[in-house]
């Protein structure tokens, strides 16, 4: 019996979503094969325009004083202040390299999806490489952990010659996993990265949201500063398919007959619900969540990221200064002494 001709299902052209005119078009950028070169281009373009930016770097030095109590290490006594005021204060430092950033990159099969000419994993790799490059320029220690259904590669956070190159090689690895198990990855990060620092999770987070809350909370409670960069394809956010087709899950290979016209509304509703729940979790855990589209220029994504970090740092700095001042006033003023600052 004859068959009826069917039209191939495709989403509406993704160029419609490449909206931003500032920065390099991701499609152009990602056509460069060398990941390090792509990162360099992104960071240099970002640095070139930085002088026009009202924001400053997020690496802020900070010192603190507190009254000496027996048992404290006398090496950290502020001897000058002691000589001046005959009071013993401990001087607290931030580390010289005061940022240890671990990039956690999702390499599962769902990240291999892309409807705009490049996949989410390409975008995520480039973004991770750019971040690593940028942080290396700031002499910050950067590590890498890639995962799919389990942790596939882990490079501890370092700052040393050749480390950036190692990170690039780690990121170059192809997509090999199948399912996404972000929970295992986060649990592993919490176990491995004992020193507090920043954890940047780059993933599409297309997983059930139930256990994510617990794992993110656990990571946050270990003192890590967690930032989530959620990478989404325009087809995932818009579900702009036209014709019915057998949709195959890239991870489980499960197939469903889908008529996009009748399913789109429900899809978007459930997708938005998922996103809202994710947002709620991040707000609860004081985690920054940045949702990035693969058509968004990487410089802008980097800029947004740095700006938000800067804002947060400033807020933290201001809150810390206020707390210090109030603490010193409480300690010194009742005795009628002068503040150490």
């Amino acid at each position: 019996m004859p068959t009826q001709a069917t039209k191939q299902t495709q989403p509406v052209s993704a160029s419609n979503f490449a909206g931003s005119d500032s920065g390099l078009d991701p499609r152009t950028l990602l056509s460069i094969k060398n990941l390090e070169l792509r990162a360099r281009i992104v960071v240099e373009g970002f640095m070139a325009g930085l002088h026009r930016s009202p924001y400053h770097g997020f690496s802020v030095e900070f010192t603190d004083y507190r009254q000496y109590t027996p048992g404290d290490d006398p090496r950290y006594l502020d001897w000058k202040l002691l000589a001046r005021t005959d009071r013993m204060f401990i001087k607290r430092f931030e580390d010289e390299t005061n940022l240890r950033c671990t990039l956690v990159v999702d390499q599962s099969r769902s990240m291999g999806y892309g409807s705009v000419g490049h996949s989410k994993i390409d975008y995520a790799k480039t973004l991770a490489a750019a971040l690593a490059f940028f942080l290396a320029r700031q002499r910050d220690a950067t590590g890498l952990l890639t995962f799919d259904e389990g942790v596939s590669e882990y490079i501890p956070a370092r700052y040393r010659p050749g480390h950036l190159r190692r990170l690039m090689v780690g990121l170059e690895r192809t997509v090999s996993g199948s399912t996404t198990d972000v929970n295992t990855a986060l649990e592993r990060v919490a176990n491995i990265v004992s020193k507090r620092g920043m954890v940047v999770l780059i993933s599409d987070l297309l997983t059930p949201i139930d256990t994510l809350h617990k794992q993110l909370g656990y990571l946050h409670s270990r003192g890590h500063d967690v930032v989530i960069l959620r990478i989404l394809d325009p087809a995932e956010t818009e579900f702009n398919f036209q014709n019915e087709a057998l949709f195959e899950d890239s991870e489980s290979l499960k197939q469903l007959y889908i008529d996009p016209q009748s399913t789109r509304a429900e899809y978007l509703k459930r997708f938005d619900e998922h996103a809202a729940q994710l947002k709620q979790i991040c707000d609860d855990q004081v985690i920054e969540l940045h949702t990035l589209s693969t058509v968004q220029p990487l410089e802008k994504a980097l800029l947004d990221f740095v700006a938000s970090r800067s804002r947060k740092t400033n807020q933290l700095g201001r809150r810390q200064s206020q707390r210090n001042r109030s603490e010193q006033n409480r300690r010194v003023q009742p005795a009628g002494e002068v503040s150490p600052s």
């Binding site: 068959t3 057998l246 899950d249 890239s250 889908i258 997708f271």
Partner: protein, 702 residues
């Protein structure tokens, strides 16, 4: 037009499939890989409305193919105008059990009613035969033979009903195996009387067995019989009103029992019996005998053995009370008659002389309930006895030299056919008996050394005298030593030597005698001569000699109904007869050695030689075992159980066979298949064209 297989018409419902396929939009072939289906749910297949049915011609062609295919499977045919209704004949043999167990309660009326019911199930064309069986098979009404004038079924039924009124259960056992074989062979021997050659289905034969099918039926003959394939057996079992049965067995030969008060009786109660208490007593004219009833408590399925006193030697019937099945509650024994035997002894020794012969002989003759032997050695008394032939001694033992009057007396005794035992004690004695023994040479052989002795080296155990001792446990005579014997060199050519010493000298022989029996012992049994008198062989030898001299007072053995009884040979020419318990008399020929008219339990009397020999015939023990037997037991003997098809079934099968034949001739289904092939070819071409057109259109629009 009719159809052979209507059910395949349901296959026409498959027309719904092409219709549905035309309504359902086909699942897309395109496949779209997507990152995650966690936000998606499967869309239901879209069904277009009826008004949107496309490709009407293709749909019609496909539906037509399905319908024609279903039509072909339905095997259509055009029925012929005339169809002959065949006549069907089935042969039915009713096998009615008339064994003794059918005498229980209402078994026989039940059996008659069952036969009536079976007669009512027969059709007009059936052929029927009635057979009865117990230990034998009796063809009451055979199947019709081709040469005979055929009877109508109604007439046959009337004949059977007449026969049923005359029939009644016998006292025989149930030999179901032979009865089934005989019935099956009767079915095979009598060919089908109607010509069924124009029918496609051969009707088998049926045997209806109306029986109580008790546990004691005989089935062993079926073991070696190959049951015919076309004969089916259906068992119609009769249920007794009261289940269970008790019966008694005598555990010892009442003739040999020395104690009248303790005849051991075993009472067996069958499984499923409702009663367990019974009383057993001997029937007697004495009214006090009823007080001697012994109570047995026998649970169902078990037995009990107790002695039951028999006060009167003439009581011949043991009665079991308390059992509802009374047909086997009586057990018969022959009356005890004590034979009075007189032995005349002619010897020099006294009865108290431990070195003499008489001392051992008198002690060997033990009195039993059936035999009392008296030894008389007083010459005057012997002479007095000899005057009357009725009171003379039954046999004689001689151990001394005889005077002429004594010789004359013995010769007369032998001439009357009686027995004389001569024990040679001296050479002189031998010479005085020349008239009896002939001229024989005798030497006295005596050994002083006790270690020098003779034994019996050659014994004819086939001779009746030694036959009771022929068993391996009895035939050792080596412990009997002979120190003195009379060596007889020439016992006579016609003499029958039945035992010799180990040096070849005759020890016991029968000299030739025309009338009576003469037996000679070459050595005595007293301790001076030998150890014979002290050996265990002496008493049996003496008792056997007595038995041979006088004969039996009753017939030995335990007899059942229908047993063939071996009769003793008459010694005189007097007329012989047997009187049955019910008074019937059977005249016997002089040479008739077997009596097989024992069709009734009880005490029979054999009249011969001027005396009565009673013998008891009882019901066969197996007939008393009335526990029901599973009919499936017959299947183990390859008997085919079941029912032949009814006439309606056979008619339907014949009709169907006829239809199949017609359909096979017409074969319309083949034409339907041909049309289906053409329709499919056309449909394929049409569909192919449409597909090509659509592809071309798609290319143009692209």
């Amino acid at each position: 037009m009719s159809f052979l297989a209507w059910m395949f018409g349901l296959g026409g419902l498959a027309i719904a499939f092409p219709l549905l396929f035309h309504l359902i939009r086909r699942m897309p072939r395109g496949k779209q890989t997507f990152s995650s289906l966690m936000f998606l749910r499967q869309s239901p297949p879209r069904i277009t409305r009826k008004s949107r049915l496309e490709n009407w011609l293709l749909l019609l062609l496909r539906s037509l193919a399905v319908v024609l295919l279903a039509l072909a499977f339905m095997r259509p045919f055009i029925p012929l105008a005339t169809q002959v209704t065949p006549s069907i004949a089935k042969r039915v043999a009713i096998l009615l059990d008339t064994s003794a167990s059918m005498q229980r309660s209402d078994q026989w009326p039940q059996a008659v009613r069952k036969v009536e019911e079976l007669l009512n199930t027969l059709a007009e064309d059936d052929d029927i035969a009635l057979l009865t069986f117990d230990a034998r098979v009796n063809i009451v009404l055979p199947f019709e033979q081709p040469a005979q004038q055929s009877l109508t079924l109604a007439r046959k039924k009337d004949l059977i009903r007449d026969e049923l009124r005359q029939l009644k259960p016998t006292w025989s056992k149930t030999d179901l195996g032979n009865a089934l074989i005989a019935t099956a062979e009767h079915l095979e021997d009598s060919e089908v009387r109607r010509d069924l050659s124009d029918l496609d289905i051969q009707i088998g034969s049926q045997i209806f067995v109306v029986t109580d099918l008790q546990e004691g039926v005989e089935l062993a003959p079926l073991t070696n019989y190959r049951w015919p394939k076309n004969v089916l057996v259906e068992i119609h079992r009769l249920q007794p009103e009261t289940p269970g049965n008790a019966y008694a067995l005598l555990l010892e030969d009442q003739n040999s029992s020395s104690d009248l008060r303790g005849t051991r009786v075993r009472l067996i109660n069958s499984k499923g019996a409702e009663t367990h208490q019974f009383s057993v007593r001997w029937l007697s004219d004495d009214s006090s005998a009823s007080d001697q009833a012994v109570t047995f408590n026998v649970p169902p399925g078990s037995n009990q053995t107790l002695p039951v006193p028999r006060l009167d030697a003439n009581s011949t019937e043991l009665l079991v009370s308390g059992d509802a099945a009374t047909f086997d509650n009586r057990l018969f024994v022959a009356p005890l008659v004590q034979q009075q035997i007189t032995v005349g002894y002619l010897g020099d020794d006294d009865a108290d002389d431990v070195d003499g012969l008489q001392y051992y002989m008198t002690r060997a003759f033990v009195e039993t309930p059936t035999r009392k032997i008296t030894v008389i050695d007083d010459p005057d008394e012997l002479a007095q006895l000899a005057t009357d032939p009725q009171t003379e001694a039954d046999w004689w033992v001689v151990s001394r030299k005889l005077e002429p009057p004594e010789m004359e007396l013995l010769n007369e005794h032998i001439a009357r056919g009686n027995q004389v035992l001569i024990v040679l004690t001296s050479v002189e004695m031998t010479r005085s008996l020349e008239s009896l023994l002939g001229s024989i040479e005798v030497n006295e052989v005596s050994r002083e050394n006790p270690r020098d002795y003779r034994m019996l080296g050659q014994i004819d155990f086939q001779h009746p005298l030694f036959k009771p001792l022929s068993g391996p446990q009895y035939n050792d005579f080596t412990k009997i030593r002979f120190w003195r014997h009379r060596a007889v060199l020439n016992p006579g050519e016609t003499s029958e030597v039945i035992a010799r010493f180990d040096n070849g000298d005759p020890a016991i022989w029968f000299p030739a005698s025309e009338t009576g029996t003469l037996l000679v012992f070459a050595s005595g049994w007293n301790p001076d001569d030998s150890q014979l008198g002290l050996s265990t062989k002496f008493v049996p030898l003496m008792m056997e000699l007595s038995r041979q001299a006088v004969g039996e007072s009753s017939l030995a053995g335990s007899w059942s109904v229908d047993d063939a009884i071996e009769l003793p040979q008459p010694t005189t020419a007097q007329p012989r007869k047997i009187v049955a318990p019910d008074g019937r008399e059977y005249r016997l020929q002089q040479d008739e050695a077997v009596f097989n008219q024992t069709d009734h339990p009880g005490v029979y009397q054999l009249h011969q030689d001027g005396q009565q020999l009673p013998f008891a015939v009882n019901l066969h023990e197996m007939e008393s075992r009335t526990a029901p037997l599973d009919p499936e037991h017959l299947a183990a003997y390859q008997v085919r159980l079941g029912n032949q098809p009814t006439h309606q079934d056979v008619r339907e099968r014949l009709q169907r066979a006829s239809i199949v034949q017609i359909e096979n001739r017409q074969k319309i289904w083949k034409w339907a298949i041909v049309v289906v092939l053409f329709v499919l070819i056309f449909e394929t071409i049409l569909a192919g064209r449409r597909q090509v057109n659509q592809q071309q259109l798609a290319e143009v629009t692209a």
